[in-house]
Amino acid sequence: MVQIESWIKGRIKEDEIDKYLEDGRDFINDEEIWEKINRYKNPDKNWVREIFDKALRIETLTPDETAALINIEDEDLIEEMKQVANKIKKKVYDNRIVTFAPLYLGNYCVNNCLYCGFRRDNRVIKRKVLTEEEIVKEVEVLAGEIGHKRLITVYGEHPTMGVDYIERSLRLIYDVKVKVRNGYGQIRRCNVNAPPLQIEELKRLVEVGIGTYQVFQETYHHETYEMLHPKDTIKGNYRWRLYSMHRALEAGVDDVGIGALFGLYDWRFEVMGLLYHARELEKRFGIGPHTVSFPRLEPAANTPFVQETKYKVSDKDFERVVLILRLSIPYAGMILTAREPKEIRDRLVHYGITQMDASTKIGIGAYSDRYSEQELERQQFLIGDTRSLDELIRDLAKFGYITSFCTAGYRCGRTGDLIMKLLKTGKEGQFCKLNAVLTFKEWLLDFASDETRVIGEKLIEKELLEIKEKLPRAYDKVLEYLKRLENGERDLFF
């Protein structure tokens, strides 16, 4: 107990907050945000269309412009916005959807957030932290049976999952290599969702090869944040969390991911908060968020707050959240997780989503112990879309999307400011297309069911025709690489 208390006391470094403040203030000004949201009721149609054009040029919107989009009520304009969102996504990332899986490594937590099933005082939760052996077993299933190449590892804020544990787990995950049907399975990119870390700790994770580092602010609204996160906890410090991405970029992390938990406060404010966060990172570091996440609050064991919140986001408003974020931060990847039910994911995938998870299990150790039932005592919330990766791939193919397992940026260092430049100029989309075809082929060879393989091969044929027409210089090389993949080579990329 004493050990935990002293660990907690050493977590927050005030100097790693203060250095980023401007005149003692952080970059979220609650009054200013509400003033903007309220100022642009019924925005002029011509102005809105100018905003659409700006987003199509892959330029980050201003807070005034995002506030205008938030206030669109005209159904025709909303329909136009859907088309714009789709075009932006196609321009920046082409027609591919990247897949990944979450891997929860433990559910111990020293914090006591009112809305979270894993909060310290919630006695109904069965607590566990994966051992090294268990981590390897989980990854063997994810990489060797399902065929994932990307993970997002999730850690609680607790001394049992401090930076030593995170570092060790990343090394273990990257070391797993499993022989599969025609080649081998491995995790090539391990993104991390962890509590706010110190700069020196982040430098250690950089050396191990951390992927995107995610810390969600939960809510950007100061007063609500204070109410939901008890002051005597680490998470009770709004600014320690708010500047996590600053510390990460200063430490040399290439890619950072921001997010808000929708349902804690007014969705319009949170969308503005995410935009302010992105603009702040661009201003300070020249690099905006690699991804934006927008999970909706889900029921959790023994957590009445979830039922009581007055800020629950309806499906209709959630659709607007996705559209407005797509336009506001047009270069960023947008993650729609399996928290959402299939019907919602099938609809929103057309509005600019770039990443989805599948075959998702969020119980601790649930992949390797073949645990198929969802049990609230074991997981943070219930997932809404239980489709397997094989099923999701088939469904995406029906919509004309190719599933990508691309990690090419990490194979050659097309990361950080370089990828940001390529995303903003639309050049990265070409790499996305080519690498989607190659990695999809690899997955079909190694993991697909017969039914999915047939659908997948047809999709590749269609993609090849497009490559021949639009990227003729790359066409022959793609054909050569596909042949080499069939002959057992792996990890080929542009």
Binding site: L170, R171, Y174, R188, R189, V206, E207, V208, G209, I210, G211, G252, D254, Y410, R411, C412, G413, R414, T415, G416, D417, L418, I419, K421, L422, K427, Q430, F431, L434, L471, R473, A474, K477, Y481, L492, F493, F494
Partner: protein
Amino acid sequence: MEKGTFSSEKIVDFLREIKSKYKTGGVWISRKLGKRWSFLVGIEPEGTSPPCFLEINGDFALFCEDGELLKRDWDSVKRKLQEMLYADRT
């Protein structure tokens, strides 16, 4: 070595020379982090060729779009890059 601990302008100038002399297209230097690579400095790719990998040492590599001509002079270019990365810190 961390980003910004060397004279990146000098290296970019040298990479521009490489690009022009050896027709490499995009050319950039990446740093090895565990089993992956991270962008350090360089000129963005122009087209869609697979990146050619040329190892500078255990920590750094040069990637470019077309490395055939550069490979012939790689030993001397590599020496110069090593000097710049390690000796020319500002």
